[in-house]
């Protein structure tokens, strides 16, 4: 080795003494020009145009002529909770069956006609409503509306198609009871709600108990014009679409759904409890934490949403930066706020490397405790979190979906009519102290429902060491060994 090195040195030896020169001065370091903002461009949100069918059904249109596409949706206020437990799934089944036979077409013919038109048609029911919708090219709107009118007004509910759909649904229940992510969502609803409202889910037994006659009755009782609204978005005007709708829905008759009382928010769960679903061998634990946190019309709700942005609602939030970017426990940890008829629910969601499950729960609790103790939200954090909402707002209006979604929420959840117009005012008002207080008033780390789907043998002992009471539950949320 040494010999080789010597040889190399010899080979490189200069033949003449080098001329010593001063080295050239190093180039000045590159300093990019500081980016300064350009002039702000004016923005006013697009307006919705409102009208009504001859029969009185309200129609709202949000125009957008960028591309020749139209979406149209008919919404109904219905209550999933009004269906008896033994028939759980009835509303979803009735909605699912609408396009399995309608007017003169059978299920395959409806699908073939939509394919020919390049159109989409969707139907569905949730806890708080039901809807049918179409999307298509603007020059195919009339023939697509023909299919929609058949589906909504003249469904035939063929018994053999219900057999097919039910069989597929029962297969899907098995998939849902096996997938860690889907188990976590179902069990969270069950833990918060027991066997009511969002805790109710179709079972194989309830699906087998549903008859075609009951679906027809549900359709007649719930999908009348009295409770309907029509939302249209895209490359069409109100003046264009009204006559198309009147021609097809002019003779629409039916009952207005009699709605049961809306649910009230569930009682908070017992202290420091983890509901654990055992899934042996999984590489990650699916972790959720949830709570009900008031109503969107609470005076301090905007302050809470800003605090949530700062805590976990965005990438650069305390919780994600800690659990992901500092500790590497997860691909992402987020908190979110969503509405339902009972109010608003807050939830934390992350998939955690199995061996880091307890440390991740500990880190989450630390963040939740710190913000209410040693590290309250700073003014800068609150401004950043507010900015994300305020400055990101114009971009949401690029397609009609955002405004239409807001208008739907106004109706479904009984929000003030000027909910969209006052958005920026609401978001600009809260101070850092307001955000801090709204958060502390709502999020009590000791009274969250924690749900974990993971390998119990590997994670349970450490989770218990954190002081949690662990309640083992099955994939449907039933307490194992419970009554």
């Amino acid at each position: 080795m040494r010999a080789l090195l010597l040889l190399a040195l010899v080979a490189c030896a200069p033949k003449a003494p080098p001329v010593v020169e001063a080295p050239p001065p190093p180039p000045p370091p590159y300093v990019p020009a500081p980016p300064t903002p350009l002039a702000t461009r004016p923005f006013s949100p697009p307006a919705a145009t409102r009208g009504a069918l001859g029969s009185g059904v309200p129609v709202v249109v949000v125009e957008n002529h960028e591309v020749p596409l139209v979406t149209l949706r008919i919404d109904f206020l219905t209550r999933g909770a009004d269906v008896p437990l033994a028939k759980a799934g009835l509303a979803e089944a009735a909605m699912d069956m609408l396009n399995e036979g309608a007017g003169k077409r059978d299920a395959l013919q409806i699908s073939a006609e939509l394919q020919r038109l390049g159109a989409g048609l969707g139907t569905g029911a949730g806890y708080d409503g039901a809807s049918v919708s179409i999307s298509c090219l603007r020059d195919k709107l009339e023939p697509t509306l023909d299919v929609l009118a058949d589906v909504l007004l003249r469904p035939t509910f063929p018994a053999e198609e219900w057999e097919r759909r039910r069989s597929l649904w029962i297969d899907d229940l098995q998939d849902a009871r096996n997938s860690p992510g889907r188990i976590a969502s179902r069990v969270t609803d069950r833990v918060l709600w027991g066997q009511s409202y969002r805790g109710v889910e179709a079972t194989e037994a309830s699906l087998r108990a549903i008859t075609v006659k009951e679906m027809k009755a549900w359709h007649a009782a719930n999908l009348g014009p009295g409770g309907a609204t029509i939302q249209v978005g895209g490359d069409v005007t109100l003046a264009e679409v009204l006559p198309m709708l009147d021609a097809r829905f002019g003779g629409w008759k039916g009952k207005t759904a009699k709605l049961g009382a809306p649910p009230t928010a569930p009682v908070p769960p017992p202290q420091n409890t983890v509901w654990l679903v055992d899934k042996p061998g999984v590489a990650q634990s699916v972790v959720r934490a949830a709570a009900y946190v008031g109503r969107p019309t609470d005076p301090d709700f905007a302050a809470f949403t800003i605090a949530n942005n700062a805590m976990g609602g965005q990438f650069a939030s305390r919780i994600n930066l800690d659990l992901r970017e500092q500790k590497g426990y997860t691909y992402g940890a987020r908190t979110s706020v969503s509405y339902d008829l009972a109010g608003t629910s807050w939830s934390f969601s992350a998939n955690i490397h199995t061996e880091k499950t307890a440390p991740a729960l500990e880190a989450l609790l630390q963040q939740l405790r710190d913000v209410e103790g040693a590290r309250p939200l700073t003014a800068a954090e609150v401004e950043d979190a507010r900015g994300a909402s305020v400055f990101g707002w114009p971009g949401r209006f690029e397609s009609p979906d955002y405004l239409l979604g807001q208008l739907d929420a106004i109706r479904t959840y009984g929000l003030p009519e000027d909910w969209v117009a006052t958005y920026l005012t609401r978001m600009r008002a809260p101070s850092a102290a307001d955000a801090q207080k709204a958060w502390a008033d709502r999020i009590d780390p000791d009274r969250l429902a924690f749900i974990v789907v993971g390998d119990a043998a590997r994670i349970r002992p450490e989770v218990e060491k954190l002081g949690f009471v662990v309640i083992p539950v099955d994939v449907d949320g039933n307490v194992i060994g419970g009554k």
Binding site: P35, A112, L114, R138, F315, E325, Y329, Y331, D384
Partner: protein
């Protein structure tokens, strides 16, 4: 920050019946350092999208370093010399949407934000194009290895059937082929990455002359040109990377692979090697997939789900990629049925194409579906930026749209039928089955 699964790179379509002609207005130029710049104004809302694609993907990884292109993408969100902080931090308070993704062929990054903040977005993108390495640390690298391995656990290891795409690539492309290992990579090879790997990869691939910048949305063109020159002009070019395009592999037999997963039902994937994106046959295979499995009246859905009721679902797609593509037919068994039964039923439907060819009407349905999909993808400024950049990165022509559309316009039922015959031989393909440890008993 997504490692793409085998999402089909669906190209888009135009048909003569269109009421409006789809197009994206743009202008294109090149900086002296070789950076392609495409500008596409749209003043719907005061938002601008800065969209940067690099012509590098997981196909360009060194042996033993699978997952590296995607890991590298993650590291580009952890700061650069003149902005050494989390990439989201300055952008998020402005209401920006920010992300990136890596697939077999390319890596892309974007931020869509209020128009007045265009200088900041350009500054940040340029800084991580030219001055990434001075901000790199071992701590950042180790953290992102953990994050990416959790991404793999979340999207591939944990979900039911999540390993399917990994198995399809592993069993379709031979060892050593750039598509043999999926973009997400193997755990142990992600863990093996070093700072020197990061430096080498950056110097080889992250060059202005290997990148394409698109601005779409509400901006002033002259102002944008000045800003682009200001921030990207000083980025040094490097030797243009060269790569050898491997030959398209071919199955020489009917290959069967079974993998076990914690799932209630067997699911099968039938896989064939097919022509690369934009090559002859690629569009025809897209149209064939529509005729086979799009809608309840399609051939496979009708047979397997509606009539025989042996499957919960069935899909078919041409998964197009730059070197070569895969055509995939997949179905999940219903309770009481199994994978072998599905394969036999799929084969019967595919075999029937010989005696009952795909019709003009079936091709027309596929055309229409692509037409609608095309309009959907240009409905937003982000969609437009991605489309322009996809075309520019793959063909060096952001205006390739017209040629892309023309190939669907030109496709005929005869062409679709001959693509079926040429590319989907029943005796040369892969059948992957993923099912529970104890196979479902077959019910006849």
């Amino acid at each position: 920050m997504v490692a793409a699964k085998g999402a089909a790179m669906h190209a888009l379509l135009w048909s003569v019946a269109l009421a409006a002609t789809p197009s994206i207005p743009f202008s294109r130029y090149e900086l002296p350092n070789g950076l392609d710049v495409t500008l596409s104004p749209d003043h719907t809302v005061p938002v601008v999208c800065v969209n940067v694609w690099y012509d590098v993907g997981s196909r360009d990884e060194a042996a033993g370093r699978s997952g590296f292109a995607h890991l590298f993408e993650h590291l580009r969100f952890n700061g650069s010399q003149h902005a050494d902080d989390d990439y989201f931090k300055p952008l998020q308070p402005l209401g920006a949407r920010v992300n990136g993704s890596t697939n077999l062929d390319r890596t892309n990054y974007y931020e869509c934000l209020p128009s007045e903040q265009l200088p900041l977005a350009l500054f940040l993108e340029a800084d991580r194009m030219g001055w990434l390495l001075p901000a790199l640390t071992e701590t950042k690298l180790q953290n992102q290895k953990d994050v990416v391995r959790n991404e793999r656990r979340q999207n591939y290891d944990n979900p039911p059937y999540g390993q399917a795409w990994l198995e399809i690539l592993r069993n379709s492309y031979p060892e050593g082929h750039p598509y043999h290992i999926a973009t997400i990579g193997k755990h142990e090879e992600i863990e093996a990455a070093t700072l020197d790997d990061v430096k080498g990869f950056f110097r080889t691939w992250y060059l202005p002359n290997n990148a394409s910048l698109v601005l779409s949305g509400d901006f002033d063109e002259a102002e944008a040109r000045t800003l682009v020159e200001r921030y990207f002009g000083p980025v040094a070019a490097g030797p243009s990377p060269v790569r050898t395009v491997p030959a398209r592999p071919a199955f020489t037999e009917a290959k069967a692979v079974r993998a076990v997963d914690d799932v209630p039902f067997e699911k099968v994937w039938l896989v064939w090697h097919t022509p690369a994106l934009f090559q002859p046959g690629d569009a025809e295979l897209d149209l064939l997939s529509s005729a086979l499995a799009s809608g309840k009246d399609s051939r496979l859905y009708k047979a397997l789900v509606h009539e025989q009721q042996i499957a919960q679902d069935v899909t078919a797609y041409q998964s197009s990629a730059g070197y070569s593509s895969l055509f995939v037919v997949s179905a999940t068994a219903s309770a009481g049925h199994g994978g072998a039964e599905l394969v036999a039923a799929i084969d019967a439907v595919l075999g029937e194409v010989a005696t009952r060819p795909i019709t003009d009407a079936e091709v027309e349905v596929g055309r229409t579906a692509y037409e609608v999909q095309f309009f959907g993808s240009i409905a937003t400024i982000q969609g437009k930026a991605d489309l322009l950049n996809n075309y520019n990165t793959r063909t060096h022509d952001p205006g390739y749209l017209a040629k892309d559309l023309a190939r669907y316009q030109a496709a005929t039922a005869a062409g679709v039928n001959s693509a079926h015959k040429e590319w989907l031989p029943p005796d040369r393909r892969l059948v992957l089955t993923i099912g529970p440890a104890s196979a479902t008993p077959e019910v006849k």
